[in-house]
């Protein structure tokens, strides 16, 4: 795309789509958009930077090709809708974009889009193709996470003191970029990102964050962009270390790796999302023995778990000896443990014993 290097605003980039079509038409050429390939084959692990990066492979999407014509048309339509958002200074959801661009093509019974499955990937294509973050495109996801701790934010001009929000905390919006969300003050010593809401609630209730002076974040499973981006900003702007607390299973490991190096799916955003210095604090496969968790609170690994764990062993970012030992230990035991299993010992075992000891012993994996 001609305007790829242009670092001007997003609207200009979107208008560039139309320019490309007009220019090609004048030269009697097939209008074409170049889009980086978004798949495992086009992903590389940059060991130096410690993040997953998108490769150089691109694919051409041209109009006068039967297989691509519809997608090309859809791309221009989505581009148009995104430009409309920019001009009106609105944000919206993926689904609303789908409805906005859906109509029946004149003189036919064909719809521009038949389901949201068709429009979602095109938005991702444009994010990558135009080198614009989804937030910059004004497309938001559902608010998917919560934060609590000694942190003061400014959201749309409102001051949000995250230490004065009771047990509920502040719901992290999907767009946390500077003009929308400003970090006013943060006096914490570290950030703790928890996989599950249950443990986050426990720590909020026990005022764990007050005692240990930290920012508590959860993404309820795989953390959404907003949570990841806020964590990254706090890490970067306030130089805070980040600890990740997840279940002891292959999916927990992967959540950690996504926070650390970025995901395969969103590899193009690793630059702004990944936190290579994030540390894995637990639950480690060594913990059951070290903390005396009985075998009967473990869960047998199923076939899917085993397959996934073996896949993880082959990822270059899990190649270090510590990680190979960690994962293989889980496979050898044949068991996985949920964070909730700590309640077997005591309801407050997590906040009173487990985490304090972990932090004190510096018992984590890099």
């Amino acid at each position: 795309m001609a305007s790829k290097k242009n670092s001007g605003n997003v609207e200009k980039k979107l208008v560039g789509l139309a320019d490309a079509v007009i220019e090609a038409a004048q030269k009697k050429k097939d209008p074409t958009i170049e889009i980086p390939v978004r798949s495992l084959s086009n992903v590389k692990f940059n060991e130096k930077k410690g993040i997953i990066e998108m490769g150089e492979n691109t694919q051409e999407r041209s109009f006068f090709n039967v297989a691509m014509a519809k997608k090309f048309m859809q791309t221009i339509l989505v581009g148009d809708a995104l430009a409309e958002l920019q001009r009106a200074e609105l944000t919206t959801s993926l689904r609303e974009i789908y409805y906005r661009t859906k109509h029946t093509i004149a003189d036919s019974n064909e719809n521009t889009f038949d389901s949201q499955d068709e429009s979602d990937p095109i938005i991702e294509d444009l994010e990558v193709g135009l080198a614009a973050l989804r937030e910059e495109l004004h497309v938001r996801a559902e608010n998917g996470g919560t934060v609590i701790g000694p942190l003061v934010l400014e959201d749309d001009g409102d001051r949000v003191d995250c230490s004065k929000l009771g047990k509920g905390g502040y719901s992290v919006p999907s767009i946390v970029e500077d003009p929308y969300v400003k970090i006013k003050k943060c006096s914490a010593d570290f950030i703790l990102l928890v996989e599950k809401g249950t443990q986050w609630n426990r720590m909020a209730e026990d005022k764990f964050w007050k005692k240990y002076n930290c920012v508590l974040l959860t993404g309820n499973g795989q953390p959404p962009r907003g949570v990841r981006r806020l964590t990254r900003r706090l890490h970067e702007e306030k130089r805070l270390p980040v600890y990740v607390l997840v279940d002891n299973d292959p999916w927990g490991y992967y959540i950690y790796s996504v926070v650390k190096q970025g995901s395969i799916n969103l590899a193009f955003e690793s630059q702004r999302m990944a936190i290579p210095a994030a540390k894995f604090i637990g639950l480690s496969s060594a913990d059951p023995e070290r903390y005396g968790l009985p075998r009967n609170v473990g869960i047998k690994l199923n076939d899917k778990d085993t397959t996934r764990a073996k896949e993880l062993l082959n990822y270059p970012w899990f190649a270090s000896k510590k990680w190979q030992v960690e994962i293989k230990r889980m496979l050898t035991s044949g068991l996985k443990y949920e964070l909730d299993a700590l309640a077997n010992k005591d309801f407050q075992y997590l906040t009173k014993k487990y985490l304090p000891k972990k932090l004190q012993d510096k018992d984590w994996i890099d």
Binding site: F63, F72, E84
Partner: protein, 664 residues
């Protein structure tokens, strides 16, 4: 039928025996002897009318029409006359005005043919004596087989309404017409002539039979209407006028002006003979030597072959046939089965022919693709037979246009409605007679289920006929069609027969597959061009919005259209598309496109004003629009016939290629 009579008498004798021990309860042999008497076949059928297709009033009406039409067609063809038949079904009520057809319980069926007529002496026996006819004792292909049909219909009428069968017959314009009213003496199975006179008749030649009976008229599956429609498909050389109980008379025009090759009678083939039959033939023969008997009483047995059979059986060729019995007969039977004998002659068969099937299907069924295949003759139980199959597939251009019309905008999850699960219709024929009942018991239907239609691009669920807008036609021609019952509704499932049906279906399916692939390719090309045109407007409009209106919409659109045209090869592609869709390489097929018809289509015969005994004041009115339609179609046909010539030239070498045929 004689067998049935025997069956009926035997149980009576057997039943008496164990009772003898207790004289009080039972009868003496003498007493029983008094009760034992011959049962007339007519009496037997009075009680067992379901065996002949008179189970219920609706079926009775159909069977009556069917028997009369079959007889008329057989008579015309045997006399070398192109059949022209008028069928009239009138509801009859108590009062002067007839009731509505759907409510009536009594009908008058009149069938008129312009055939050879019947000699005066034979009329009563043909119409009022069961098991009387010309067809049972010969091995030759014909619609009727046993000589029961029309007299049974007459008897049913007589039984339910008390009215006699009325016949008018005339053998030539030099002789007078004769009018008969006959009834059957159900005890003696003999005709009773109630009235007999010479009358004036406007027809020069032919037969008219009128039967009044209890019945019900209902349209739809297995109706008189369907029967006549199907008859017209399998007999495109016949013209049938149907005066239905309601609505306009319908004329099924003749599309082929040649009679089918007249079938010849043959002698039985040795491999089809059972031991009992062989014994009977040995007794009845006029030959003096065994070898002579084999040569003269069977087909395909030469003197040398007869000697070989005798040798295998360990019998002297000079033995007297009558002396061959017991073990010797059994040895002879075994020897015959063990000897390789040429397949029976097939000139006793008269298949409809691919051209005629195509023409019949094309005339009656709307579609975009037609094909037909006639198999070479084969033999089951020594009876030669030929299987023919045909296909009509798809929507005709008019229906297709309607289906392609944009409907209401589609919501999420709604399909475009093209994949409705209509099942294929299977139409079955035996010796040109449509079979309307017991589809699932029929070898034809089983073969359709067993064929893997998915191979040919048609969807099919397990254990079901294929899905889609398709009609499958199967015809079995044989000197003796093995029906599963006397009412001739389903063909028995012999391995040889089913195998042949499947081979014929596969041949048709293969051609359909080629056609569908070709059409898909053409559609893809078509879509290629359309797609760009369709999307250009969208892209142009979006670009204009993106540029905030600062774009010359017209200019951009034209530029893009030009690129699209260049990309898809412009007019050259159009020509290419047209050529590709032709029936080249598809023998005996017709393809109907919006531009016209490709392939060989028999023209509708010019209908000559036939002398009609039925007063049809409306008929002239009904015939006219049809004439107009023909005119409209004609220019298309002339165009296609030009193409057709070119095609048929190309087609011949393609036909001979061994590879093409072998690929199955």
């Amino acid at each position: 039928m004689t067998k049935t009579k025997a069956d009926q008498t035997k149980p009576a004798t057997k039943g008496g025996r164990p009772e003898r021990a207790s004289p009080k309860a039972g009868l003496t042999a003498d007493e029983m002897g008094l009760q034992q008497r011959e049962i007339s076949v007519s009496e037997f059928f009075t009680k067992n009318r379901h065996l002949l297709g008179f189970d219920n009033p609706r079926k009775a009406l159909l069977t009556t029409v069917k028997e009369a039409v079959d007889n008329a067609m057989d008579a015309c063809e045997e006399a070398g006359i192109l059949p022209e038949i008028v069928v009239k079904v009138e509801p009859i009520g108590e009062g002067p005005t007839p009731p509505a057809a759907s409510l009536a319980t009594r009908f008058r069926v009149t069938v008129i043919d312009y055939g050879p007529g019947i000699v005066r002496q034979q009329v009563p026996r043909i119409f009022a004596k069961l098991l009387y006819g010309s067809k049972f004792h010969r091995l030759r292909m014909s619609r009727g087989q046993q000589g029961i049909g029309i007299s049974a219909a007459g008897m049913y009428g007589q039984l339910t309404t008390g009215k006699p069968v009325k016949i008018i017959s005339r053998t030539s314009d030099k002789t007078p017409a004769h009018y008969f009213e006959v009834q059957i003496d159900t005890k003696k199975n003999e005709p009773i002539v109630l009235e007999k006179k010479e009358i004036e008749w406007e027809n020069h030649r032919g037969t008219q039979v009128t039967i009044e009976l209890e019945g019900r008229y209902q349209k739809g599956r297995a109706s008189v209407d369907e029967y006549l429609e199907l008859t017209s498909i399998a007999n495109p050389h016949a013209k049938i006028t149907y005066v239905a109980p309601e609505g306009e008379p319908k004329v099924y025009e003749r599309t082929i002006n040649e009679l089918p090759e007249p079938p010849r009678a043959i002698k039985p083939h040795p491999h089809g003979i059972e031991l009992g039959m062989l014994l009977k033939m040995l007794q009845d023969t006029k030959s003096h030597w065994l070898s002579g008997f084999l040569v003269s009483d069977f087909s395909r047995v030469s003197t040398a072959l007869a000697d070989q059979i005798c040798k295998t059986a360990g019998l002297s060729p000079r033995m007297r046939p009558r002396a061959v019995s017991g073990q010797a007969a059994e040895a002879l039977h075994k020897a015959i089965q063990a000897t390789k004998i040429m397949a029976p002659p097939t000139n006793c068969l008269s298949p409809i022919g691919e051209k005629a099937i195509l023409s019949g299907l094309y005339k009656q069924i709307k579609g975009s693709f037609y094909t037909a295949a006639t198999r070479p003759p084969d033999v089951y139980r020594g009876n030669p037979f030929v299987i023919e199959a045909g296909l009509a597939y798809g929507l005709d251009p008019e229906q297709a246009r309607q289906a392609a019309q944009p409907q209401a905008p589609r919501a999420e999850g709604e399909s475009d409605g093209s994949d409705d699960n209509e099942l294929t219709r299977v139409i079955r024929f035996a010796n040109r007679v449509p079979l309307l009942y017991q589809q699932s018991a029929c070898a034809v239907f089983k073969a359709v289920l067993e064929t893997n239609w998915k191979n040919y691009g048609v969807s099919q669920s397990r254990g079901a006929p294929p899905a889609g807008p398709m009609v499958i036609f199967v015809h079995m021609a044989s000197v003796w069609v093995p029906f599963t019952s006397e009412s001739k509704e389903a063909i028995a499932d012999y391995d040889e027969i089913r195998k042949e049906i499947m081979l014929a279906l596969r041949e048709c399916g293969r051609r359909l597959g080629i056609y569908l692939k070709r059409r898909e390719r053409a559609a893809l090309e078509h879509r290629r061009r359309n797609i760009f045109e369709l999307y250009i407007d969208e892209v142009v409009a979006a670009c204009k919005r993106l540029k905030d209106g600062k774009v010359s919409e017209e200019k951009l659109k034209n530029q893009l259209l030009e690129i699209a045209k260049k990309r898809t090869g412009g007019e050259k592609t159009d020509e290419l598309l047209d050529q590709k869709s032709g029936p080249e390489g598809l023998p005996n097929s017709i393809i109907v496109t919006e531009e016209g018809v490709e392939g060989e289509v028999a023209a509708v015969a010019p209908s000559k004003p036939a002398p009609s005994p039925v007063e049809q004041p409306q008929q002239t009115g009904a015939a006219e629009p049809q004439e107009e339609e023909k005119q409209k179609i004609k220019p298309k046909k002339t165009r296609s016939s030009k193409k057709m010539k070119a095609v048929s030239k190309r087609r011949k070498p393609a036909h001979k290629k061994p590879g093409k045929r072998g690929k199955k």
